[in-house]
């Protein structure tokens, strides 16, 4: 099976502090991988390192087989990556609509390009607040916008950081349905989730991180057998 994303020995630093100590991950095309771990385990950092947003990194990151560790961020993105950051990153000076339209279509992306109508159908809140300034949206609305934004670009590998955070239960359910749908359409997804109940039914693979290292890695099928271990690792 072709790996959409393949990471070997990834190390990353913020300034002087060494955060990731050799991460190995492989995500097959069209599957969902969830990164679990306690606060500060380095999951966000892993996603940022993939995008080249850490101060320094080393190791190997292959996107559709192409080495990217030496590439600048925008070149990496153009290989078909869509990143939804933990802090959402909604632009205050842009309206909701402009925020949505901001990310350019990625030439390298092989994913399905969602139309604006489809997006507004998925998030009616956004349709309603279409012309208001990006950061005037409520916390949850911003979260929706951040996810919606990368679905337009044709990225086929999505990196989603804590997207269920701060959302009302109804919306969380909608998101879960969306991810299932995206998966069915062939998107490859790497999720960071705190909300295990949200992530559990969606993922094909689970990776547990601790102190910048992978401590456990298993498939959905093995989930039940790993429950006890997980409880211990995550104190769920």
């Amino acid at each position: 099976m072709a790996h959409a994303l393949e990471i070997k020995g990834l190390q990353a630093w913020y300034g002087e502090s060494h955060i990731l100590h050799g991460i190995d991950l492989a995500v097959p095309q069209g599957q969902v991988l969830t990164l679990l771990g306690r606060n500060g385990a380095g999951r966000t950092t892993t996603l940022r390192a993939i995008m080249g947003l850490t101060d320094r990194r080393s190791g190997s990151i292959k996107v559709h087989g192409q080495e990217t560790v030496h590439l600048p961020t925008h070149r990496i993105a153009r290989l078909g990556l869509g990143y939804c950051p933990e802090e959402r990153g909604i632009f205050a000076s842009l309206s909701t609509e402009e925020n949505l339209r901001l990310p350019p279509a990625l030439k390298g992306g092989r994913g399905k390009v969602m139309s604006e109508d489809e997006i507004y159908a998925m998030f009616p809140n956004l349709a309603e607040r279409r012309h208001s300034q990006g950061t005037r949206l409520s916390g949850g609305e911003q979260q929706m916008l951040a996810v919606a934004r990368i679905l337009r670009t044709g990225a086929d590998i999505l990196l989603l950081d804590e997207i269920s955070e701060g959302l009302a239960p109804v919306i969380v359910q909608a998101l879960a349905r969306m991810i299932t749908a995206l998966k069915a359409q062939g998107f490859t997804i790497v999720m960071v989730e705190q909300n295990f109940r949200f992530a559990a039914p969606l993922a094909d693979h689970f990776v547990v991180m601790e102190h910048g290292q992978v401590v456990e890695s298993f498939t959905a099928a093995q989930l039940e057998s790993k429950r006890a271990l997980l409880d211990e690792l995550l104190s769920v």
């Binding site: 606060n39 208001s132 949850g140 239960p169």
Partner: protein
């Protein structure tokens, strides 16, 4: 004194033709942990901002202990004993954990404008500061820089600093957001502990937290009050189910 510590009357906030908070009559009982919940964009944070005057209400009144505080400035309101926390963590990153709390305590010494005094006066406050840190399990981290704390601990520090102000009313905006389960439980317990003898008004999405500590819940939707009551009442309210909790309601008890 009346049993109501905080009351709003027809509190309204409009942003360029959009009504974020729509004549809300909120009544918070002294000694309660009062939760404010609602779908995203319901106007909860805006409500907080109005109560602390980080935003100016378009209409309506805010009464604290029976005084009309609608016209007061943020710092004034804080001095009355209404202290808020922020949705994103707010500590003084380059000060030590101890100093963070001491800044809060310092206000009561009345020396804050004394630029000719030494710091020795402030050291007397260290004892009280450490007590507060003890309360949130931060005592052994007292000498660290706040910036070096893990996220969950920062929230705890924030609560300790807020406590230092001896608030009558604490406003907490999503205190458990972005926390691991471990920390969520810790902070929930913490809130319960610190709420003794004072009043807490909190915004929260985590139903487990709400169900375990809230005495009373107000549900906002589209800027207006949708329902109010204790957890049992609210969680069965059909409109709340529809607007907020979704089909998950049945299993709500075990959420998260």
């Amino acid at each position: 004194m009346s049993n109501l510590i905080l009351e709003t009357r027809k509190l309204t906030k409009e942003f360029k033709g959009f009504t974020a908070v729509d004549s809300v009559d909120l009544q918070v009982q002294r000694g309660h942990i009062h939760a404010l919940i609602g779908p995203n964009g319901a106007g909860k944070t805006t409500c907080f901002n109005l109560l602390t005057k980080f935003l100016t209400p378009t209409r309506g009144q805010i009464l604290f202990n029976g005084h009309d505080i609608t016209g007061e400035k943020p710092a004034q309101i804080a001095r009355r004993g209404v202290i808020r926390s922020f949705q994103i963590s707010a500590v003084f990153p380059h000060l030590t954990v101890l100093e963070n709390v001491r800044i809060g305590l310092q206000r009561f010494t009345g020396t804050s404008y004394h630029f000719w005094k030494g710091l020795s006066g402030l050291r007397q406050l260290d004892g009280r500061a450490l007590e507060l840190l003890e309360l949130v399990d931060l005592r052994d981290m007292a000498t660290l820089r706040a910036a070096d704390l893990p996220y969950g601990r920062k929230r705890a520090l924030e609560i300790a600093t807020t406590m230092a102000m001896e608030p009558e009313l604490m406003l907490l905006d999503e205190p458990t957001q972005g926390m691991g389960h471990e920390d969520v439980d810790r902070v929930t317990a913490l809130i319960k502990r610190v709420a003794e003898g004072r009043t807490v008004l909190m915004v929260e999405h985590n139903m487990k937290v709400i169900s375990s500590i809230a005495d009373r819940i107000t549900v906002l939707a589209r800027g207006a009050v949708l329902a109010e009551g204790d957890y049992a009442t609210v969680s069965r309210h059909p409109k709340v189910l529809e607007a907020y909790m979704g089909s998950e309601a049945a299993e709500l008890q075990g959420a998260h």
